[in-house]
């Protein structure tokens, strides 16, 4: 049974079909990348999975349960977690407090302090823990938010452009981070434009185009697919 199963999902804003009958199945334990030109409906698909948008029709199953009618926080309780495209850290609070707020739902007392320390080490942010999250560099904010998402011990981690604005070194470090999490058993679905990152981590790739699943396969299959190259080039020429 797939961990996440999306069936015939539709979402339209007025006459615009942002998500058009999307089917997608995610196996437990895989790292799956979602690519596609701007406006393909990738972020909308995330918002549908998270319950920020309600679909016009179609269903979302998570671990065998139909979560379509559930509110966002309830879906998080089922084992979903997300890092947004624009870092959503609590800017006015310290790095440590950001992680505390995220981790305090599952950990309490002294154990909570230990968990925060562990996360700070994992993210390489131990020295920055007293700083306001708003003062971190863009890359550090991305990592902090990944840490917050990870602290929920999710079964499925959704990453919306985790390496946006990062240097090649930072991108590679983020890739290694994702692979470590995956090795611990976390399933990952990532929206990403950086093909170096996709090549580094993805086990399977889905291409979304105009709200529909355009192609699916291994990274090599996708790169070799001339139709995929055409939609990217087509967009570049538009």
């Amino acid at each position: 049974m797939p961990l996440l199963e999306i069936s015939r999902l539709n979402k339209h804003f007025g006459g615009l079909h942002v998500t058009n009958s999307v089917d997608l199945a995610l196996e437990a334990g895989e790292i799956h990348c979602l690519i596609g030109p701007n406006g393909a409906g990738k972020s909308t698909l995330f918002r549908l999975i998270l319950g920020e948008y309600q679909p016009g029709s179609g269903h979302i199953f998570f671990a065998g349960e139909n979560v379509t009618p559930l509110k966002s926080f309830a879906r998080i309780h089922r084992g979903l977690s997300v890092k947004f495209q624009v870092p959503g850290v609590f800017k006015g609070l310290s790095v440590r407090q950001n992680l505390e707020i995220a981790a305090q739902r599952l950990h309490h007392g002294a154990e909570l302090d230990g968990e925060i320390d562990r996360l700070l080490d994992f993210l390489g942010l131990a020295d920055a823990q007293a700083q306001l999250a708003g003062n971190l560099s863009h890359g550090q904010k991305q990592w902090l938010e990944i840490g917050m998402a990870v602290s929920l011990k999710p079964r499925l981690l959704l990453l919306d452009e985790p390496t946006a604005g990062m240097s090649p070194e930072e991108t590679h470090a983020t890739g290694a981070m994702v692979q470590r999490l995956n090795a611990e058993g976390m399933t990952v679905l990532a929206i990403e434009h950086d093909m170096a990152f996709v090549r580094q981590v993805a086990q399977r790739v889905t291409v979304l185009h105009l709200g529909q699943v355009f192609a699916q396969g291994s990274i090599d299959q996708i790169v070799a697919d001339e139709r995929v190259a055409a939609i990217y080039l087509g967009q570049a020429h538009a």
């Binding site: 998270l50 926080f73 959503g88 609590f90 609070l93 505390e100 707020i101 995220a102 739902r105 309490h108």
Partner: protein, 354 residues
């Protein structure tokens, strides 16, 4: 025992300014001074100080909802009025024997909280936020004011309690504590002073603990970024509603104490001016910190009273000016700014600071 220590540990934390021995020594000094103060003053002045104290609760309610929670409520006076009138209606009808005034006080606060639960449910579960929250709450308090203002006729009464329209309701008994050998009646002087001071210290410390707890963490997280808070698995609406209800209970506490203090409550306590003033106290002091709100509110009230005595018609204009200056010069509040500055200069900064 361990959990008690853990709870007391929340007296200090990232959500409240002030920590370490120096802060608590200052707190103790202030408390001792406040306790000793009536011995060096006269009954009238002490009664006047109680008047200031009664307003601090509604200021703290706004600090909680607006400063910590990020939801601007313009209508805390609605809960103030409901609880004030509630206390009047209950005690005028049932008297003050057997400590009933204390029960009436709790009941009146509970009614205000219940009203907030109902109103808050529709607002927060209807996902009303930002400026619209301010508009709805302001509309509610103005509506209540208008309603109470037209209750002058004799047909407007609850039991034996006449509502009296714009003239207001009066004649309710003060808070009375049953005591062997004769009840203690807390008229607006030394007796009521210690009662309100005690309550204020309890509420202040209680709120410090609450805001530094896991609950307070989530409240602040919602202010910073509600979407992120929801995506960490918190039901944002529920936390907003609970905060709103606690705030209403605090505003209601102000209402009851004010009514018991002056044995008097009028519709204008829910009017536009009354609704705007707490915003000024809290904004000037520093809305995102309990201590700043407490100190700021008392200071502004003191200045405001002096202004009313020496230049009555300009007092409200000065209040407005003060708000404008605060917003321009120290948007986080004058007292909070000052406290942060002191903390930066003090040596305790190396051990974590403020």
């Amino acid at each position: 025992m361990n959990s008690l220590l853990r709870i007391l540990g929340h007296l200090e934390g990232p959500q409240t300014v002030g920590r370490g021995p120096l802060f608590w020594a200052l707190f103790a000094v202030a408390l001792v001074a406040a306790c000793a103060y009536p011995a060096f003053s006269d009954g009238y002045t002490v009664g006047n100080t109680v008047y200031f104290f009664t307003w601090v609760f509604i200021a703290l309610s706004l600090c909680l909802i607006w400063g910590y929670g990020g939801s601007l409520s313009f209508g805390q006076t609605a809960f103030f009025g409901i609880a004030g009138y509630g206390y009047g209606i209950l005690t005028i009808n049932y008297g003050s024997a057997y400590g009933f005034t204390l029960v009436a006080m709790l009941l009146a606060i509970a009614v205000a909280a219940l009203f907030a639960l109902l109103l808050g449910y529709f607002m927060f579960f209807g996902r009303i936020s930002g400026v619209f929250l301010g508009i709805v709450t302001l509309a509610v308090t103005l509506m209540l004011e208008r309603f109470m203002a037209q209750t002058a006729g004799p047909e407007w009464h609850v039991g034996t309690a006449r509502l009296n329209g714009f003239n207001g309701m009066s004649g309710m008994p003060p808070i009375t504590i049953p005591w062997p050998g004769g009840s203690i009646v807390l008229f607006a002087d030394i007796g009521l002073y210690y009662f309100v001071l005690g309550l204020l210290v309890l509420v202040y410390l209680g709120l410090r603990i609450l805001m530094n707890s896991a609950f307070g963490n989530v409240v602040v997280a919602i202010r910073e970024n509600p979407e992120r808070a929801e995506m960490l698995g918190y039901d944002v609406r529920k936390y907003q509603l609970i905060t709103f209800v606690i705030g209403a209970a605090l505003a209601g506490t102000s209402g009851v104490l004010y009514t018991a203090w002056g044995q008097y409550i009028t519709p204008s306590s829910m009017g536009m001016t009354a609704a705007a003033l707490p915003l000024i106290w809290v904004a000037v002091g520093g809305r995102s910190d309990l201590t700043s709100t407490l100190v700021g509110t008392l200071t502004v009230l003191l200045v405001f009273q002096a202004l009313t005595i020496y230049g009555s018609q300009y007092a409200l204009v000065c209040m407005g000016l003060l708000l404008v200056l605060t917003v321009l010069l120290a948007p986080n509040g004058l007292v909070l700014g000052l406290m942060r500055l002191l903390a930066r200069l003090s040596p305790s900064r190396r051990t974590g600071g403020v």
